[in-house]
């Protein structure tokens, strides 16, 4: 299955992926309108330590701890993709405690949000991949 991977060697820590992600999931057609004066809640987040930078988003684990831990069944693994049914989420955040990557976070409405590989926003290839200026984030089969 194709997944989003980050290559630390090329990640510059510019955080543009975070903005492209937030924009792609904003339902707006203009980035300025979508993100101006807003605090963004991206599904991919850059971590940095010294000169090391890397973006982290859902790994779509084969044996996902978040799905195992989900108390409602809101998180499911469908054809390899870990999806969230926001309607069923009761904001208990057990998945946040479970995810070893820190890739799940509460959204503004309280339900959890996570990377769903831009499947739900019809972006084609994931926005973070498209927006990465150094091809550090790739979408491929490994």
């Amino acid at each position: 299955m194709k997944r989003v991977y980050v290559n630390e060697q090329w990640c510059l820590g510019c955080r543009l992926c975070e903005y492209h992600c937030a924009f792609a999931n904003s339902k707006e057609s203009d980035m300025v309108k979508a993100l101006k004066d807003k605090k963004i809640h991206p599904n991919i987040r850059v971590e940095s330590k010294g000169n090391i930078n890397f973006a982290v988003s859902c790994r779509h684990c084969e044996d996902p701890l978040c799905v195992r831990g989900c108390i409602t069944g809101a998180l499911q693994r469908v054809n390899g993709l870990i999806t969230v049914d926001k309607d069923r989420c009761v904001h208990c955040y057990t998945c946040i405690v479970c995810c070893p990557y820190g890739a799940i976070s509460p959204s503004e409405d309280g339900a959890i949000q996570k990377c769903e590989l831009c499947i739900k926003n019809n972006n084609g290839i994931p926005a973070c991949v498209k927006g990465c200026i150094n091809q550090a984030i790739v979408y491929e089969e490994r």
Binding site: Q9, W10, L12, C14, R15, Y19, K36, D37, N134, Q135
Partner: protein, 499 residues
């Protein structure tokens, strides 16, 4: 007190700025900063070198850089540039340094030359339907053909460089440009079937795998030269001069001689790498011949040897001498040629245009009947496929591209290489900047550029009814000058348009 007003202003469209801070994150000159209490970005114009990194990556196109309208009182003699140079030197007491090629307003002869096309009597060729040969061989060509009893040609040539297109990446050292820039050039050369040149920085051990496409340089400092270095290469280039700084040497400050750069150059970390102005063992053509043959001897006569010189006033005699020194290829670097750092006044005032140097050298070698003894490679500066076509028609076998290659990789010609803070990861050794140049991207851009030029070269050749580089070479009838005087036309050996 700082006398110098910033040359450029950063213009931010606050209506479009989403304060993603990518500009701040990516500017090594610390131009941008985020003002926490006002939740807005601010810019420090003083630091801006106009490299466009921020402009290019800004996801909402909220930035542009404009030339400051701040001005001195008008003066045709004392321009703002001249005044500022004096301010700088009065403050620092130092030599003015610059990077990349001579930017001054001298004639660009390529832009005053027009290319011919066939009509009616000599049909043009469609390169999409008919074969079009762009392959060239560089090296000494045999003066006569020998055949065996059956009439078959007996191939008897000295070593040659075999190129798919008459374009090579010119010498840029590891040190002046980054590891990733080198890897990009090497990868692209391999993919394209052409060559890149190490410059005087040695060859990093990681790049020996690209040696079939590598020309190694031996320059006055002899940095990085050893037996394996010479033997692994496809060809060896003796660097006598550089178009951007003819007559002077090079100086890579000790601060840049760290880690792999020091290892590759074979000098201690932190020591300045000073390339002397002359080769201290070369004071004559005879001396040069000794070095040429030393290198050939060291490599078992398997590698062609190139001698690279800057285009200077008496270039024709020098080239004639080199052709007799045993060199297989002469590379001539015009006064527009690039550099990682050179004294500004030398870069901008020394040397001659490549077009004139090329035309006169080609003519001189023909006149002396030794044109076939060497191939001619020209650079400094070839900017487009039409420049390539014109150079070949003026007599070149091949061109070197340096600045164009850097631009393809992302260079925005801000001409601040000497600062070592290249925001594009090219002319820098700072690891956090070097990683900005991903060879996976950069090498593809180089490949794309050369392939695009190749298409255009074929189109132009086809238009002229010519189907091989060989037939275009020195074919000055395919060129016409425009707006050139008699003297210029006569040096270039071309007619004026309309003639």
């Amino acid at each position: 007190m700082n006398y110098i007003y910033p040359e450029y202003e950063v213009v931010r469209n606050y209506a479009r700025c989403i304060t993603c801070r990518a500009c701040e994150n990516q500017c090594s000159n610390m131009v941008h900063c985020y003002v926490e209490c006002e939740s807005r970005m601010e810019s420090k114009d003083d630091n801006c070198v106009n490299c466009h990194r921020c402009v290019t990556i800004c996801p909402t196109r909220a930035l542009k850089i404009v030339k400051s309208t701040h001005t001195f009182r008008e003066n045709a003699n004392w321009t703002g540039k001249t005044i500022n140079e004096i301010y700088k030197q009065a403050q620092s007491g130092g030599v003015l340094l610059s990077s990349m090629g001579n930017p001054e307003n001298y004639p660009i002869y390529f832009d005053k030359i027009l290319i011919n096309a066939s009509q009616v009597t000599n049909p043009s060729i469609d390169p999409l339907r008919e074969p079009m040969e762009t392959r060239v061989f560089l090296g000494c060509k045999s003066h006569k053909i020998t055949r065996d009893g059956g009439g078959k040609i007996i191939p008897k040539t000295t070593p040659q460089l075999d190129l798919s297109v008459p374009i090579m990446f010119s010498a840029m050292s590891y040190g002046s440009i980054s590891y990733n820039a080198h890897e990009s050039l090497a990868k692209a050369s391999e993919q394209l079937g052409i060559y890149y040149n190490t410059g005087e920085g040695g060859l990093h051990e990681d790049f020996y795998k690209y040696s079939k496409n590598t020309i190694v340089q031996v320059a006055s400092g002899r940095f990085g030269v050893h037996k394996d270095y010479l033997n692994t290469a496809a060809a060896i280039e003796i660097k006598m001069g550089q178009g951007a700084k003819p007559g002077i040497g090079g100086h890579l400050p000790g601060t840049k001689i760290v880690g792999a750069v020091s290892r590759t150059r074979m000098i201690p970390e932190g020591s300045d790498a000073i390339s002397p102005a002359p080769h201290h063992d070369i004071y004559s053509i005879e001396d040069l011949r000794q070095l040429v043959y030393s290198l050939k001897e060291a490599t078992d006569y398997k590698k062609p040897v190139i001698v690279k010189i800057a285009a200077v006033h008496n270039i024709t005699s020098i080239a004639s001498g080199i052709a007799r020194s045993g060199a297989d290829i002469i590379a001539i670097d015009g006064f527009r040629g690039g550099t990682g750092a050179a004294p500004t006044k030398i870069r901008d005032n020394v040397g001659i245009p490549i077009e004139l140097a090329l035309a006169s050298v080609d003519k001189r070698l023909r006149d002396e009947g030794i044109r076939d003894s060497v191939s001619l490679v020209v650079g400094g500066s070839i900017r487009s496929s039409s420049d390539v076509v014109k150079a070949i028609a003026l007599g070149a076998d091949c061109v070197y591209i340096g600045s164009a290659a850097l631009i393809a990789m992302g260079c925005h010609l801000c001409r601040s290489c000497q600062s070592g803070k290249c925001n594009w990861g090219i002319a820098t050794q700072a690891p956090e900047l070097v990683k900005r140049l991903n060879p996976a991207i950069a090498h593809q851009r180089l490949v794309n550029l050369v392939i695009a030029w190749e298409h255009e070269i074929k189109e132009m050749m086809g238009g002229m009814g010519i189907n091989s580089i060989e037939s275009l070479k020195g074919n000055r009838l395919m060129l016409r000058g425009i707006g050139l005087n008699e003297k210029e036309l006569s040096i270039l050996g071309i007619y004026h348009a309309g003639e």
